[in-house]
Symmetry: C2
Subunit: 198 residues, 2 copies
Amino acid sequence: MSLSSKEHILQTAVSLFSKQGFAAVSMRDLAKAVDMSTAALYHHFSNKQALYLSAVQFAFTKQASAFDAVWQTELPAQEKLRRFVHCFVLVLTKDADFRCLIQRELLDADAERMQLLAEGVFFEQFRQLAHVIAQLGMTQHVHFKALSMIALVCNLIQMQPLSRYLPGWQAEHEQVDFIAEQVTDLFMNGLKGSEGSI
Amino acid sequence: MSLSSKEHILQTAVSLFSKQGFAAVSMRDLAKAVDMSTAALYHHFSNKQALYLSAVQFAFTKQASAFDAVWQTELPAQEKLRRFVHCFVLVLTKDADFRCLIQRELLDADAERMQLLAEGVFFEQFRQLAHVIAQLGMTQHVHFKALSMIALVCNLIQMQPLSRYLPGWQAEHEQVDFIAEQVTDLFMNGLKGSEGSI
DNA sequence: GTCTATATGGCGATAGAC
DNA sequence: GTCTATCGCCATATAGAC
């Protein structure tokens, strides 16, 4: 499947903006990366800001439905939760551009863009996650609990390059299966988890 | 206590860089904010990059010892953990510049700066936290568990502007005492926490 | 230690040919 | 839809006076 010029620009823009941020990427950088002139970019997008916003939306829309397969199964709530965590860890590990764009938006976006991000990308996934948590009998502060899960997974992976220099680090701590299992265990049983049973 | 010119520049730089990032803050912006000429900045720092690195170090050194009072008490491990979490939530809530600078460094820093950040700022706090977790009888993957705690608190607060547009939000979820209590409870008992006892 | 003035180059954005 | 050429501005950084 080949890409239109516009899609090619957007995909390249996502990669550059996620790695360097809005201000550090020039239209000349992007033009060179897609092997076009800067003037050609302005044919597809009215200005740099509009191009950036399109790129963010493009990156997020690609991922929005990645979790639907999890929610649409007929499994018990606990198993749904387990699978969601694994899927979420996997996506954030494999798609660094997506993960970094989210973190950059958390730093740079104003209230309007936060609302777009929340309602356009996270809303449905968050609703499903909160529903499963409620099904597990945790009916108090469901929003806070779902948010905790998202926040933990995002930053656990984001902090990996830092954590390598902190005492006790092991390579195992960066493996998708390990992270997913530990996070699920933490949320089901607390830090103590299943330690006694080994 | 009055500030030297250099400290005044650094403090202002921390504020600007944390809000906008390295590339988006010009030396002219900073000069205007401290009411000097750009040339004066170059008297104190050899270039923009050196100024930025000094500002990051300045912001982090200020916070490094904020938690020592917690670790030096003679309280039970569980109470130490509870107090650390509360202190950490408080610092990250009140000092947005510090919190945002950390998140920006996670995005922008190379391996060398990650090492500086880990060893110069987080190492001792992390070691103490890991020690307390081990004292509570959780001896497996202590590093991962301590990291989870840090990651969760950081991103819970960072995600507040986004979470306001997700279903189920309540103002209470952004209060320091509430966050600290919920996080401690999560780590001690899992998501279910003390829900049954109300 | 701080200023004014300036060198040098990259920036976003546009005009107009093809 | 893409190009070359260019405008006007702002960036980092320096020179030299006070």
